[in-house]
């Protein structure tokens, strides 16, 4: 039961992050909130595995964290290619 309560709190914080991703005045706010959403989602998957007695899900959480980093760097690379320009 505690795990489900924790999942609720994580869901609430994901909603806060989505607010920033949608509203964010600069594109960097959006990238930042997406990387935080990825981290929270990975933790949520790990907790979800324990809540449903399937702890093998940790593998996916691991891969999420690595791919989340990759996506962040990929979107940032776009800015390096475009140079000094506000999109």
């Amino acid at each position: 039961m505690i795990f489900f309560l924790a999942l609720t709190i994580l869901g609430l914080s994901i909603l806060f992050c989505i607010y920033r991703a949608v509203k964010g005045p600069t594109p960097f706010d959006r990238i930042l909130s997406i990387s935080s959403i990825g981290t929270i989602m990975a933790l949520g998957i790990a907790i979800h595995g324990f809540a449903f007695n399937r702890p093998d899900f940790v593998d996916i959480a691991l891969m999420y964290i690595l791919l989340n980093f990759l996506g962040t760097i990929a979107i940032l690379k776009f800015y390096k290619m475009k140079g000094k320009k506000k999109v």
Binding site: I9, C17, R20, S36, T39, L43, I47, F50, I65
Partner: protein, 103 residues
């Protein structure tokens, strides 16, 4: 012993959840991009650390707990790089922080 494991799991789990919640509140509340990076860093380090710690205590020592330990290890390497990259590119594309340079 069983009670100790149970209650410490609950304690660390909700400590981690509290840090994640305060990090996401910081993402909304703080004024500019450079300050919001701190909030995201709070989610990445303390939130992840405490939640993984509580899951390790819950599962006991096995191969699974080693696998869980890999998550904060990867975070230790990836989180500062992405934080630095975001702040560097934001600085380069001309967004100035609200703070002034202190000598």
């Amino acid at each position: 012993m069983g009670y100790l494991i149970h209650y410490s799991t609950i304690f660390f789990l909700f400590l981690g959840c509290f840090f994640i919640l305060s990090g996401s509140v910081g993402l909304i509340k703080l004024p500019d991009v450079f300050s919001r990076i701190h909030a995201a860093g709070l989610i990445d380090t303390l939130g992840t650390g405490f939640i993984i710690l509580s899951l390790i205590i819950h599962s006991g020592f096995s191969l699974l707990s080693l696998k869980l330990l890999l998550i904060p290890l990867f975070i230790l390497f990836t989180s500062p790089i992405s934080g630095h990259a975001i702040s560097l590119f934001a600085h380069e594309s001309g967004y100035k922080p609200k703070a002034k340079l202190k000598r």
